[in-house]
Assembly symmetry: C2
Homo-oligomer: 364 residues x 2
């Protein structure tokens, strides 16, 4: 999968593979689920990049975003001119309980995972707290998966290419109260890759002559144990990294045309919108209900299905988001095109808001 994604990115960029001098890989679970750490050199050789610098970045479900940030720094520091950032994750070859346990190592193991907490239950706790604090009906969260699935239906690389209606959500089974099956992203396999370069000639080589600039990068962390945070419903690392990325890009948040956020759970999509500053606290579901999040809304999210329906191969997700931002900004998103998109923000999260990587892409 990683080899295919890298070959595709290099071919699409029209770059000579010998010009690629480093590979940064986002991966979380290969050691635990496949007995294979050291994914960097393995993937470099498989992709025909043998010999280049190749390292793996581990920030759990935020690994892809972290790899993208390292790639940015590698080019910005002058250490490399052209690099590949890839994300790869294989999860479906193991039993669900093994995968769930693996994912739970992204929590504070001594305080959460070891006591049986999983990411479904941690998100469930946040969702309960939110519903109580803001008196929100469960049904209001349905706008997030319905929007994601609606976009996935026309997305060739989505895992769950099917639309959902209100009845599907209403009848969806509760998996860990109050989280329903349709509030949670699927376990899946996937890989994505992008080429970053400081060479504008290389960057321009796309068929339509478009150039996308990675204009801003932000990264922040929060206390790992969710209930140790002073305000669990405010994702402080989302706020910090969003502000950093926008400031770095010198972009006003109002100019963001689409936001690929980390909708691993409905509640996470809602909290991200609020903590990033796109919606007021407690207003996330209302914002969704108003139709603002659709492809023709004021802030399209999950434009190819998001984590919920495109899928969430954890260490790869952040790189999927970057690829999707690129497709949108180069007007190559087909049926999923956000018209006239010029600025895209991507946000990839490890744990329940513990590691957050935000990037801003601008069409030039």
């Amino acid at each position: 999968m990683g080899k295919t994604a890298i070959a595709g990115a290099i071919a699409d960029a029209g770059v000579d593979p010998t010009a690629v001098s480093a590979l940064y890989v986002g991966n979380m679970l290969s050691g635990m689920l496949s007995d294979q750490q050291h994914v960097g050199p393995l993937l470099a050789t498989a992709a025909g990049l043998s010999g280049v610098e190749a390292s793996t970045v581990e920030a759990c479900c935020g690994s892809g975003g972290a790899a993208l940030r390292w790639g940015y720094m590698a080019v910005a520091s002058g250490m490399h001119e052209t690099v590949v950032v890839a994300g790869v994750e294989q999860m479906t070859h193991q039993e669900a309980k093994t995968v769930t346990k693996g994912l739970a190592t992204a929590s504070d193991w001594e305080k959460e995972g070891a006591h049986g907490a999983t990411f479904v239950s941690l998100n469930g706790a946040l969702m309960s707290m939110y519903k109580e604090k803001y008196s929100v009906d469960h049904e209001a969260f349905g706008m997030f998966p319905m929007n994601a699935h609606n976009n996935a239906a026309s997305s060739a690389h989505a895992t769950l290419q099917k639309r959902l209606g209100p009845n599907d959500y209403r009848n969806s089974a509760v998996i860990t109260d109050p989280v329903r099956l349709l509030d949670a992203c699927p376990t899946c396999d996937g890989a994505a890759a992008v080429v970053l370069t400081a060479n504008r000639d290389i960057a321009r080589r796309q068929g339509n002559n478009a150039l996308v600039r990675l204009a801003g990068s932000g990264a922040a962390t929060d206390i790992l144990c969710v209930m140790d945070r002073p305000q669990p419903l405010h994702l402080s690392a989302v706020e910090k990294s969003t502000q950093q990325a926008l400031a770095h890009a010198q972009i006003d948040m109002g100019t963001v045309d689409l936001f690929e956020l980390h909708d691993a759970y409905s509640i996470m999509a809602c909290l991200c919108l609020e903590s990033a500053g796109f919606a007021l606290p407690g207003q996330g579901t209302h914002f969704a209900k108003d139709g603002h999040l659709a492809l023709n809304g004021i802030l399209p999210i999950a434009t190819f299905g998001g984590l919920k329906a495109r899928g969430h191969p954890v260490g790869a997700t952040g790189v999927y988001q970057a690829s999707e931002a690129f497709l949108q900004l180069t007007q190559a998103a087909g049926a999923n095109q956000v018209k006239g998109a010029e600025v895209a923000m991507t946000q990839n999260i490890g744990g329940a808001g513990a590691s957050v990587y935000t990037h801003v892409f601008v069409r030039e």
Copy 2:
């Protein structure tokens, strides 16, 4: 351990902790041995750096060197002024077979680990090949552990603080033919940390007013499966990353005053000397025998005991090497001081030469 190392580095640097805006952590096995991935934010909070960017770098036993390189790029790219690079590994709380299996995930699992190969056996294969090709007696390798243990005897942070004589080596048990117990580094726990800054005022704040510049960084990979390489005894990634780091630092290899190399096994120390270019192919053990590697030799190695005797807490080792280079260049190495040391090279390896990170430090 990580918290203690970071607190020590920050205190020693005399830097205000609020000036630290990122933490890069080298770690390999925490997910597999302690059910805890996501070490970045956990350690950031423990070390009083809550909220800062914090990611883990995974390049197996080369993770510490990879984290150092990311820290360098973070500062060189202008994204951060002052960062902490830490390495941390806990290995002794699990049974030996679990640790051995965990370490074997650094090999090409499908071609090596799954068939029973371990790092002892992979190094054993290289050692057999070397002995046969160059007609070297096993005893010739004894100079590496004897030198390392000699230096560890006066090193406060070494795991094995005892000297070895030729009889100890001669009588050492064969663990995987031809590797003897005293050819292999010990399993151990450990953490190390350094502060990197672009601010010369902060950098100068040490008691003795010394300033050490991280002048060069190199990184390269090789085919992961050892026997798939065209010349297994030539570590091509060692050669490449050494040349990159020296070129980046604009330093001639002859001016290197000490070399903290990756002596996880006697054969690895020997191959590193040769592949880096300090000894001709087949001459590594002769070079050692001539006394060149001692503290008063022409190329001191393992000056505080190296991986062999200081210990090899895998993801932390590359950061130990940087700390030791710093102590040598600031003339703070006590009984282990290399007199007049002005240029130090460190080299950290993941797998049997698959990921190699080389750094050059210069006293100013």
